[in-house]
Chain length 209, copies 2
């Protein structure tokens, strides 16, 4: 399977491929290979970190007894942690699907991505990155209030009462931060994959488009 | 001032311009004009909205008397609002400078942006967008706790005590959300401006690069 009218390295804006791996062992450009390898690595890392974050937060629970009254701290007690678990669950599923797509495209070779498909992947990646970043920021704000309190509004710190719960939640938030860094990297990579299709002045020059 | 070896519409990846406005009234491509006009509009709107958000939050103050004790609510009582004011101040200054650069480039014409400059603008735009989004998410989390409380941790709602303060803070956060939407748009536009320079398979094909 060869591209019609390919450029010197088999990539032309007129054909709008994002990458091309020919079945005959034809080597793609080094930029293509690096971008595709980075994408697979980032998507797998984001998936693993998001699963770890969601698992750490979801399993977080501590029971304490205060004056014969038993109290249980769970992640569901704090809306921002629930939001973070949901966001990380979505990010993990999405990264898994997209990572599988990338791997299949590498293994099977000859995958041509059209502009609409590149636009769809780019849009989803951007939305996911901003959702995860926002959820992390909201959870960090709630975690800081839990750790240090907000005395002006009589919001007391609670982490000295539920130390193990807070430590595990901190680990979950740290994993979510790492996952969000990966999601930002993925968003930048898919922006690269999309917008270079608009090279040469909107694809009008030297591509016959 | 003309580009050496320009393509059919004066834009070639080999010369790495982002846009070209010739002094002789030469009309740039419609995509170029739309992108540049959108960039100026988004940067001006982001600047105005960020200034408005910072002003609303910075001037927010309400004094109440509880049992002969006078209490004053200010934005400085809540760290996330301080962070939001700082982030919006930074975004306003940055958008003003970048908007002025865009306007000067349109008025003077003949501006060629190199890849390093496009990378610098892209990086700053991305960082600013993520900073503003994070600050907005953190402030929204604190605002929601202020509005509805978090009874599981004995964090009482305070907005029924400081209604005017909360209403004005809500307006400030709304402006900050609108500013952050503009910043995201700017980040996408600068990604478009940068990565299309890498069109044609890393600029190797049809551009002599």
């Amino acid at each position: 399977m060869r591209q019609a009218g390919g450029g010197s390295d088999g990539v032309s804006p007129g054909n709008v491929p994002v990458c091309y791996y020919g079945p005959g062992g034809r080597v793609p450009s080094s930029l293509e290979r690096r971008a595709r390898a980075a994408e697979v690595f980032l998507r797998c890392a984001a998936c693993g970190l998001a699963v770890l974050a969601a698992a750490l937060l979801g399993a977080d629970r501590q029971t304490r007894v205060f004056f014969s009254i038993q109290k249980v701290a769970r992640y569901t007690d704090m809306q921002s942690l629930v939001l973070l678990v949901i966001a990380n669950g979505m990010a993990a599923c999405y990264s898994l699907i997209q990572g599988a797509r990338c791997l299949v495209s590498i293994v099977r070779g000859g995958v041509l991505l059209s502009r609409p498909l590149a636009w769809a992947i780019f849009s989803c990646d951007q939305v996911m990155a901003y959702i995860v970043i926002s959820a992390v920021a909201a959870a960090m704000e709630a975690a800081l209030i839990g750790k240090y309190g907000q005395p002006e509004f009589q919001w007391m710190k609670t982490c000295h009462l539920y130390k193990r719960f807070c430590a595990q939640a901190g680990g979950g938030v740290a994993c979510a931060i790492a996952a969000s860094v990966n999601m930002v990297g993925i968003a930048l990579l898919s922006a690269f994959n999309l917008f270079r299709l608009y090279g040469n002045g909107g694809g009008k020059a030297a591509g016959g488009k």
